[in-house]
Amino acid sequence: MINKTVSNVEEACKGIKDSMTLMLGGFGLSGIPENAIKELVRLNVQDVTCISNNAGVDDFGLGLLLRKHQIKKMISSYVGENKEFERQMLSGEMEVELIPQGTLAQRCQAAQSGIPAFFTPAGYGTEVAEGKETREFDGKMYVMERAFKADFAFVKAWKGDEAGNLIFKGTARNFNPNMCGAAKITVAEVEELVPAGELDPNEIHIPGIFVQRIFQGTAYEKRIEQRTVRPKK
């Protein structure tokens, strides 16, 4: 067993530099790497490019980096929940590339898989396809999309073991497994870190080979963005 554990988030983030490209898992505020984001704020890295489906809210998630103007460019599919984001984007302070959600996921998976490019129908005929190769297959039009290139991927899992194996929970899984191994270094933070052998090899969502560093996170807030309920009968 190759041990991937590091003792804390500081060690996990070693080597992060200004102007790097970072991938961050999560959908909305669910399954985001809370510890890593706080550390990025503390380290005050500048001019980073972030690949993440969303941009957090004003005072949580990637919103924390936005507020400190650490982000040079965001690559996302939906950024609707963040006023400061909209301001920085419309004012031109921050560069924004909006891409279809499925294309975002697949460009991560392509990077993970050593697939340099693939074809998708998403965005054909729209501004998303501008400057990209398009091609017909069996009578339907497709856009060629490239694998992402990133320096660090930060993911959040429910359980993990020393070997870096990960298990996610519910819809907090989302982009996290697809970003593992899609950057030069993948940092996984987990709610519960267990010794190798405690996780059933059949139930592992992402094998440790895709993870370079793993640590047990602390003080998870796990904020809910839209609390919707029905009354108990």
Partner: protein, 218 residues
Amino acid sequence: MSLSKEQIAQRIAKEVKDGYYVNLGIGIPTLVANFVRDDIDVEFQSENGILGMGPFPFEGEEDPDLINAGKQTITALPGASFFDSALSFSMIRGQHVDLTILGSMEVAQNGNIANWKIPGKMVKGMGGAMDLVASAENIIVAMMHTNRAGASKLLKECTLPLTGVECVRKIVTNLAVLEVKDNAFHLLERAPGVSVEEIKEATEGDLVVTGEIPEMKL
């Protein structure tokens, strides 16, 4: 009498057939789940990674690790499954989802749709909409017939940046049910009490009216 948003959802629910996997967009489409007949079997997919989505949780049982694509807390029904974003869009792109219902800002008579961006103003992003409209065989747009300024949303050509091309087949608005084909809007049903004339007036694109147009049944 033009339909309420609930009534639009109610009418669309009749398009949901037994055995369908359905993806519901944010807004009116989300309401459709409330009106699907309970003698048919349907599963709702949410592109953030759940199939077999259930109703909102009981108060106090919300789970931050269990949300839908609108970031609302939800529940999972028996037979549900969780999966990652790549597999979720495999379901969508691979045409395993049978029906997609989504809102829109504009639809053109050739089936083009624009619903993700107002340049220089509203730029929230397309989320999964571009994947959905480019992939689905069966797309229903749920929207008001006109915008807040009273201008038609059913156009000869879209004026806003496109989400997808030649993909919308059916539209249900507060005024009518329409089919999109042969580069025109074909009127299928009128909202109760709404005249063909009123619909014509509210439709900027070419409207084809063939024979007697029945009133919707809700």
